[in-house]
Amino acid sequence: MAAAAGDRTAGQEVELIGPADESLATHRQRLGPVPKLVSGELIAALDASGLLGRGGAGFPVGRKWRAVAERSSGRAVVLANGAEGEPLGRKDRSLMAARPHLVIDGALLAAGAVGADDIILYIGTEHRAADAAIRHALAERASEIRARIRIVTAPAGYVSGEESAAVHFVNAGDARPTTTPPRPFDRGVGGRPTLVQNVESLALAALIARRGHDWFIDHGRAGGIGLITVSGAVTHAGVQEIDFGSTLSDVASAAGGLRGDAQAVLLGGYFGGWGEVDEQWGLPLEPRSMRARGLALGCGVVHFLAPESCGVEATARIMAYLASQSARQCGPCVFGLSAIAAATQRLATRSPQADDLDRIVRWSGQLVGRGACHHPDGAVGLLRSALELFAEDFAEHQRRRCRTASRPKRVAVA
């Protein structure tokens, strides 16, 4: 079942979302104290639960913690990543605003498991409610705990949540990705092994620590729960907590139903991919089923494209945004993405050059893996899925026509 924010389905405990920042007392009353776990026990439980990272990459959380623990010797650092630069994403800020103590528990448990004394809570500068809730929650904690935790405000921007960018910002005030290796789990904050983990992953780890991996696996139809952000052509956009295995139709219902006959849905945000609503209506939102269809939950964004919106124009806007968000460190990303953005913009306004469509196809083949971070890869992934789903629309636009009723206005390009 999917539960919309502020809406409790009867008999279902909503874990990760809620109306206001929960106090320590309520948190403890609801969930009980944080369990003391034997070293290695929590990591084993995370492995068994199959919990995947919720920041976008979907990497197994247990394996990540183990990699840091192995290199730690007590000097590791935990960086809770609440930067959430994805424009369509709201879940991380909602989680921090509603359940700050659960996030803090998760960070403390991670620190214990990997052998870290220092914890950094990396919160996006625009997430004012989340920042206030976390600060308030920290004030309620014991002083020994507060001494180990500091809040670092992440600068605005899509790439400042990238793990090496987060570490770089903490180390040098520069939120741009760095060349890897070394990866943060090897050498991160202050040159020490650093666990960079999304705040939702930490919150889920804190729940698994209390209830065991069986609780997580038994949940829902496919094991696990998680947050998604639903937006676009739905009645009630917002953050939902879902059982993995809920379908796209479940999510749409919990959002009050679709507005109009939406054809396309964006899954996973700007680094995700487009799908056809009809085809994916019964898609179980969980990793294995989605991977089998070449899709991924990523950062949990589910965006329904309004039927009156043109897919080419939507893609052009996304490409313009992603090009503008390049850290401007690598030639292929800067030149490639801006060329793609300019060409998709010309296609969107139905004034393309003769070979614009061919060129964006060629360029999207040239950019994968050619930046220091995965920014160009994500952009190209989205573009490719758009070229596939909106193939006919792109062809029409190359012929200076548009299938959709809307009249695309001139869009500002970076």
């Binding site: 939507a314 313009a320 500002a412």
Partner: protein, 192 residues
Amino acid sequence: MNNTLLWYATRGAGVVSLVLLTGVVVLGIVSVMRWQTAPWPRFLTASFHRNLALTTLIFLAIHVVTAVVDPFTALGWEAAIVPFSSPYRRFWLGLGVVGIYLLVAIVFSSLLRPLFGPRVWRVVHWLAYAMWPVALIHSIGTGTDPRFAWMLAIEAACVGSVLAAVAWRVRRAEPTAWRRPPAIAPQVKKWS
């Protein structure tokens, strides 16, 4: 050893060094300007620049050694090692010593570039813009051939080519300007 031979060797090696150094500086600028044609690829400029610099060191060695051992000049080794320590044309000769030290620093930092890293390398390499004028002024000030037309012609050609290359360099836009964020932050509306 025939004194006249030593004397000619000193002067000759000195002039050759100046010409070679001029070539090195011009090629360095050609390299930075990313100039190339089909028959002249960029690695040719890079190799040529490097080899000319190393060849210059050989001629400079001849120039210095012959000058020091020549009994006619009465220059000791100290004059060649400590700048401005020779009573003979103290300032102009001293400049030559300074110039050689600058060149040696540049060459060393280039040969050991992986050790020093690109940033240190770049800072030291910029000293070339000090090294070349120092060499030129040394040549004019200590040279005993300035009244000969051929020497004037050589010096004019060296100065002319470096000035032309620098003028070319100064006019060009920075090729790495793309790294800087655009002046006006693009107003891309958040789309939902």
